[in-house]
């Protein structure tokens, strides 16, 4: 009997995919198998639309310890026998339906990816995008998502050290919630998510399995659901238990760091629950397994094998233990007051076999299951982009000098620029005692225990620029992330990415994804920052409109000497302030895609450009200047341009600023003050006499520079025609906190 369309829809497989499955299995799958394949072949687990593109990323390097996509997260050698493990992951669709739990379990999932590697999580970051704040639903989602991230992360005791929050109409009803986690391990204690060695025992630890989250991977994350279905989809969003996760995290770290000889592998249970974790572990170890499903501890009675295999109940881990050490592993988990049940055994052969009371209920060949069909689609450049790129910004009226002070206040109060303190003060930023730079600056900086090292961490993506030019936007996301890292004195080392797009089945959406991947790849080559891990979230659409193309870049930088970290604030009076990378005057096209253009002219248009070579030289200059001890602060120019960057440095360091008498904005005031030309960093110097050395270095690195002015003790702020005071700037900058 042919399978019904309804059954295929339930697992999000197409008829053609089903036929391919039958051909490869040489039989029809039963109901349990169909559910398992639906999940494993979903975009969320199988990356069937994105894999060919993701292969374009440069992923290797001297410091890289993991193969792209081979493990739960990427690992990078940071020296001293230690490595950093990192990954960013999305939880967009669940957060749209149930913001608190959607975001909370997003944090839970990414943290498990990190401690599954044997690493101890040391930092969280989150990159958030919402619709506009005039939509009541946006406020509900914003408050729920921030609350969920805090509620989960705070309970775990992992500091949140950075991220971004961006508001724009294309995210109305479809927020993006990307969480990044970073952990540290001794290199020789890294654990693989692998099942191998016949007779090894599969232990399920942590929470009991319930009916929550069934079809999360295949349903929620792998197609576009109409908003009218949100109420019925709500049960597919899991509920988090961070207390359980805290115990799991401590227990798994103790197991990996002290008793790695007891185990073969550790794997977390995420999307598609037991199905994906068992099948992926077996595929990595190229071995089969037998699972006795009645041994899986349940939260409720009467659960079918289908439900048990597809449940996405949170806070569960799979431990693959050597048979002679099962008792010790079990005792370790019991010591942390956690459940630990043997649910199966590693056997040879090509199949993962699921039994219920000895009777086979599913037989899934791991090779077929982990090799879903791949789609190379033909992209098509969206016509509207071409039109927007041609827009002549020079035809708009310039900012009047008399309005410049008010314009700065209006810009600082824009939700996309205003201080995010109202968000990050809801997150623990200091637990573990290593936070050197807290959120609010360019990047978070966290010390690594037992070394002199610190890591700098940031997430970046200017989605408006990626919308206007996905290639440049992808490259700019990397360039800006690297610039932020450099502004803390750290050297950019590696990238993790989260590709948030609409439906890949639409040629224009596919085009933007392909271009963004190419832009990211080129920039990563230029900066020598391989992409070591990542995640793809597609089908981000509402009412048929995709979100802005949003390729989020999470970047890791390394400071060999933590004491050489740099902040963004003007922390002393009398410091000369310089702009590195450009002159003050900027032409009108640098307003392309800027916050100013949208704020003051309700226009999203123009053609963003990036010069990666110039950007790289600029960053090397800043690192060299910091190495020589010339710099007191460094802050990058991004959203809001030069005026916002200088104002932020003033507010952060609680010192005023006076520009030089010859401050010359050139032919257009708006683009000089608020244009968003890439490759610019505002620095303050330790001593007047350092300016000569800075000029010499700039010549050496071929970087243009301009003297902007100097910091002052008073609360005055003067930048060209702008006259204000720190309290006035701060009041505007805290607009989002008065929401």
């Amino acid at each position: 009997m042919p399978v019904s369309q309804e059954a295929l829809d339930a697992v999000a497989l197409s008829r053609a995919e089903y036929e391919q499955l039958v051909e490869r299995l040489k039989r029809e799958p039963n109901e349990v198998e169909l559910g398992m394949f639906g999940s494993l072949w979903s975009e969320h687990c199988g990356y069937k639309n994105s894999k060919p593109l993701l292969r374009l990323f440069p992923s290797g390097g001297d410091r890289v310890l993991t193969q792209a996509g081979a493990e739960n997260a990427g690992a990078i050698d940071v020296g001293g026998g230690r490595c950093v493990v990192m990954k960013v992951e999305s939880h967009n669709h669940p957060s749209a339906i149930e913001p608190y739990q959607g975001a909370a379990t997003g944090v839970g999932g990414i943290v498990r990816d990190i401690f599954a590697m044997g690493a101890y999580p040391i930092a969280l970051l989150d990159s958030l995008r919402f619709g506009t704040l005039d939509e009541p639903q946006t406020r509900y989602l914003y408050d729920g998502v921030v609350g969920g991230i805090g509620g989960y992360g705070n309970c775990l005791g992992i500091p949140n050290v950075g991220g971004e929050v961006f508001f724009a109409a294309p995210y109305n009803g479809n927020p993006l919630v990307n969480a990044m986690c970073v952990g540290v391990a001794d290199i020789d204690k890294l654990v693989s998510a692998r099942a191998s060695g016949e007779g090894s025992v599969l232990l399920l630890v942590g929470s009991d399995t319930g009916r929550d989250g069934i079809h999360g991977a295949s349903g929620l994350a792998s197609r576009t659901d109409p908003e009218s279905r949100f109420a019925e989809m709500r049960p597919a969003v899991q509920v988090g238990n961070p207390f359980m996760e805290k115990l799991l995290m401590e227990a798994c770290y103790e197991l990996a760091s002290r008793h790695s000889d007891w185990i073969v592998g550790i794997q977390d249970l995420g999307a598609a629950g037991l199905t994906s974790s068992i099948v992926e572990c077996c595929a990595r170890g190229r071995t089969g397994a037998v699972i006795d499903i009645e041994r899986v501890p349940r939260r409720e009675t009467g659960m079918t094998p289908y439900e048990v295999m597809l449940s996405e109940s949170q806070e569960r881990m799979l431990i693959i233990a050597k048979p002679e050490h099962v008792d010790q592993v079990t005792a370790l988990f019991h010591g942390w007051e956690l459940h630990c049940e043997a649910i199966g055994t590693v056997v040879g052969g090509p199949d993962v076999i699921i039994r219920e009371h000895g009777e086979e209920v599913a037989r899934v060949p791991w090779e077929t299951a982990t090799e879903p069909p791949e789609y190379r689609r033909a992209g098509e450049r969206p016509a509207e982009i071409t039109e927007l790129n041609r827009f002549d910004i020079g035809s708009l009226p310039d900012l009047a000098p008399g309005d410049a002070s008010a314009a700065l206040l209006r810009m600082l109060a824009r939700p996309n620029i205003a201080s995010k303190r109202g968000v990050y003060r809801r997150y623990d930023q200091q637990v573990l005692g290593n936070t050197v730079i807290q959120p609010g600056g360019d990047a978070g900086v966290v010390r690594i225990d037992e070394t002199d090292l610190a890591v700098a961490l940031t997430t970046d993506c200017n989605a408006r620029l990626a919308y206007l030019d996905p290639y440049a936007g992808g490259a700019i996301a990397v360039a800006e992330a690297a610039r932020n890292i450099v502004c803390t004195g750290a050297n950019p080392v590696a990238v993790t990415d989260c590709m948030n797009f609409g439906s890949p089945e639409k040629p224009d959406v596919y085009y933007t994804m392909e271009q963004a991947v190419r832009g990211i790849s080129e920039a990563c080559m230029e900066f020598g920052t391989p992409v070591v891990s990542g995640n793809v979230s597609l089908y981000n659409e509402r009412s048929g409109r995709p979100v802005y193309p949003t390729p989020v870049i999470g970047m890791l930088g390394v400071l060999d000497d933590a004491s050489k970290h740099l902040g963004a604030g003007f922390t002393a009076a009398g410091s000369p302030v310089w702009l590195l990378g450009a002159d003050v005057a900027q032409p009108a096209p640098t307003l392309a895609g800027s916050e100013y253009l949208e704020a003051e002219h309700e226009t999203v248009a123009g053609l963003p450009v990036v010069d990666l070579l110039a950007e790289h030289r600029l960053q090397q200059l800043v690192l060299a200047a910091n190495d020589e001890g010339l710099l007191r602060s460094a802050h990058d120019c991004s959203e809001g341009g030069l005026a916002v960057a200088v104002a932020e440095s003033s507010m952060l360091g609680a010192h005023g600023f006076e520009s030089t008498a010859d401050f010359d904005p050139g032919e257009r005031l708006d683009s000089a003050l608020f244009g968003e030309a890439q490759g610019r960093i505002v620095v303050s110097l330790r001593r007047d006499s350092d300016a000569d050395r800075l000029r010499e270095l700039a010549r050496e690195y071929e970087v243009p520079l301009a003297h902007l002015g100097q910091t002052v003790e008073a609360e005055t702020f003067r930048l060209g025609p702008i006259e204000s005071t720190l309290p006035e700037l701060t009041y505007a900058y805290e607009a989002l906190m008065r929401l």
Partner: protein, 233 residues
Amino acid sequence: MRFAIVRFPGTWSDRDCYRVLHDVLGQEASILWHRETDLSGYDAVVLPGGFSYGDYLRCGAIARFSPVMDSVVSFAEAGKPVIGICNGFQVLCESHLLPGALILNDSLQFRCEWTHLRRDGGDTPWASAIPAGDVIRIPISHGDGNYFAEPGTLDELERDSRVIFRYCDEHGDVTAEANPNGSQRNIAGIINRRGNVLGMMPHPERAGEDIVGGTDGNRIWTSLIEAGLAAVR
């Protein structure tokens, strides 16, 4: 001195306290699982911050029944020094070693930020090296740090000089704006009648090194360490 740092399921400030006491201040310190009941080898007990049992019930309400707590109560009743930080303060209140309760912040939100505290009140080994009126800068990190007690209890605390720290601005003025959580009378930390038990919401262990933002928190630990040395002399 020998410090016992208690770890309940869900505690997360245990390692931070250990780092400051052991690595920074050179004291002996051990982290004790909550099933431990023998405190005989220790000079002081630290109940650190965190979310014991997830704080799913009232904060500290379950941890209070942990096996270690009978020993902590005896330790305190013997006049030996006990400090409860954040979740530890909540556990001390639940255990009735300190009066009052910590309820939800008046913002209804978690708050993690640097605060200024003014040293008030009378003698305690936990603050003997901090003169009255001094202002120290220490971070908070909690969702339930809003100190509440009956007016009579508050008056008694004031009369007995048992309010040791109050939230204030950088100049030491106790103002409504400087109160981060709605605590009555800006109370951030209190002691028991004997002065050997201190409960405080701010985290002194997070202000133990310049590179993480300051060292004011060490003044609390060194008060006790110096008081201990003086007692020996």
